[in-house]
Amino acid sequence: MIGRLARIAGAYFRSALQEEFAYRGDLFGNVIRSVLNLGTAIGGVAVIFSHTETLGGWTLGQTLSLLGIFVFVNGFVAMFMSPSLNRVVEEVREGTFDCVLMKPVPALFLASARRFAVWHVSDIVLGAIVLGVALAGLDVRASGWGVLLFVALLACGVAIVYAIWLALTTLVFWFVRVANVTMIFNLFFQTGRYPIEVYPFWLRQLLTFVFPVAFVTTVPAQAVTGRDPSWLVWIAPVIAVVAVLAATRFWRFGLSRYTSASS
């Protein structure tokens, strides 16, 4: 079963790749876009640090590492998650979601791994570069365990993002005119550009437990920059598992409410 699904996802990915190479000129434009966006983001951090040594206890290098993680995750989400899930919103509105339900594979799989925006790979690569350069400047000793912990925390963060996005998408079964999900998600995700310690207490709680951006950028950055990892490190896997389970349950519940467009 898993092998079959992987093959199907692979086929979708290859077709997305072919489509991308049909528009090579755009690819170049997109790389420029990514570089300039990153440039202004780094500029923003530089402006803040031209007036202070630390931000919420984070140094310039640590904050840049966090920015690298933010850009990386942002690119990852834009490449692998949002295209498929946004398509679901469109299809439910147009009534063509019926076709997805009739396919002999789980609807959740098709809803999550059908479309890919390959050109966002430039954001993924640039994010990784920023993280790498910032870490080199920080001179942190990378132990095998540290790297493993970081990768695991990053995976938890991505899983949490997936859960949030899936839950937001599922709302479409009730509100057919659900607003652009990307918009709502990005709105709150912007807070992840800076370490969670910057925000006042109530907002920190909100970004940890209600819309858990803290686990996506701050927690992995804590682990990799050698900052004292907070207790959040230990509950990240728990939150990730609970969030994904809750979101998939919610999805199934929502799906049972799907009435197609004609009825």
Binding site: T40, L55, G56, F188, R193, V198
Partner: protein
């Protein structure tokens, strides 16, 4: 004569767009929240960084005040043409509008104003609520307040015209959105969102004073709060007027070239 007919046409377009967008007021509100959440992030950051001192003449209260006004100004000067006009150029839905005896961008203007008006219903209570919670000290600078309106009108005009230019890139490319992304992230940095222009370090500040971004958002705020005075104020208003003219010229040039191109594609 023609002038008054155009205005009458614009007024009916505005009524229609208002009625239409009012149906989607919750969705509109979610878009509108962008202009609340982003300033709050930077308000929080600068409040933390400034502590009890001041940066380039801004103390904590000044930052709070600046970003509260920023919320209102950035909403009222927002350009949405890349989301409204670019798709109709791409899909060919522009065609019927070309047949009307009114330039299609009158409709874009009506949509722009209607969007802002509908959102005020939600945003004004949020602005007032935040102002009452944060209660920044405020000493009115009457000259600045008097000049705020003209500066705002110019800012909204530059923003609309430049936004329309980016939308018209859709005549040539399918991904005008990428260009808009670049423009927006530059506006974020140089337009006064990441920091008030006075707080930007050396080179960035010099660039911000010359480039158009500041004159679409940041400048009217600085005027209203009395942050620019005397010669600086006069020079700023002159630069802003200059960019308004330049943006209008670019708009006209792009429209003429674009419409020709549009016919040529056969859309």
């Amino acid at each position: 004569m023609i002038r008054s007919r155009t205005l009458a046409g614009f007024a009916s377009l505005l009524r229609a767009e208002l009625a239409d967008l009012f149906q989607y007021r919750i969705e509109m509100f979610l878009y509108g929240l962008w202009q609340v959440v982003n300033p709050i992030i930077y308000l929080v950051i600068w409040s933390t960084v400034v502590g009890s001192g001041d940066i380039a003449g801004y103390d904590r209260d000044d930052f709070v005040l600046y970003y509260l006004v920023f919320m209102a100004v950035s909403h009222l000067t927002l350009a949405i043409e890349v989301y409204t006009m670019a798709p109709s150029i791409q899909t060919g839905r522009l065609s019927p509008h070309l047949l009307r005896p009114l330039h299609p961008f009158w409709r874009a203007g009506a949509l722009n104003i209607a969007y802002k008006a509908v959102n005020l219903m939600f945003l004004v209570p949020i602005w007032v609520g935040l102002a009452l919670i944060l209660r920044p000290a405020f000493e009115p600078d009457w000259l600045g307040i008097a000049l705020f309106l003209p500066s705002m009108v110019m800012a909204a005009s530059i923003s609309f015209l430049i936004g329309s230019c980016f939308a018209m890139f859709a005549f040539w490319t399918t991904r005008s959105m990428s260009f808009w992304d670049i423009w927006m992230s530059l506006t974020l940095l140089l337009g006064g969102q990441v920091a008030p222009v006075a707080v930007l370090p050396g080179v960035l500040q010099q660039a911000a004073v010359v480039l158009p971004m500041r004159y679409t958002v940041g400048f009217p705020i600085e005027v209203a709060l009395g942050r620019v005075q005397g010669a600086e104020l006069a020079a700023g208003l002159a630069i802003q007027a200059g960019w308004t003219v330049a943006a209008a010229a670019a708009f006209v040039v792009l429209w003429r070239a674009g419409v020709k191109r549009y016919g040529a594609v056969g859309a």
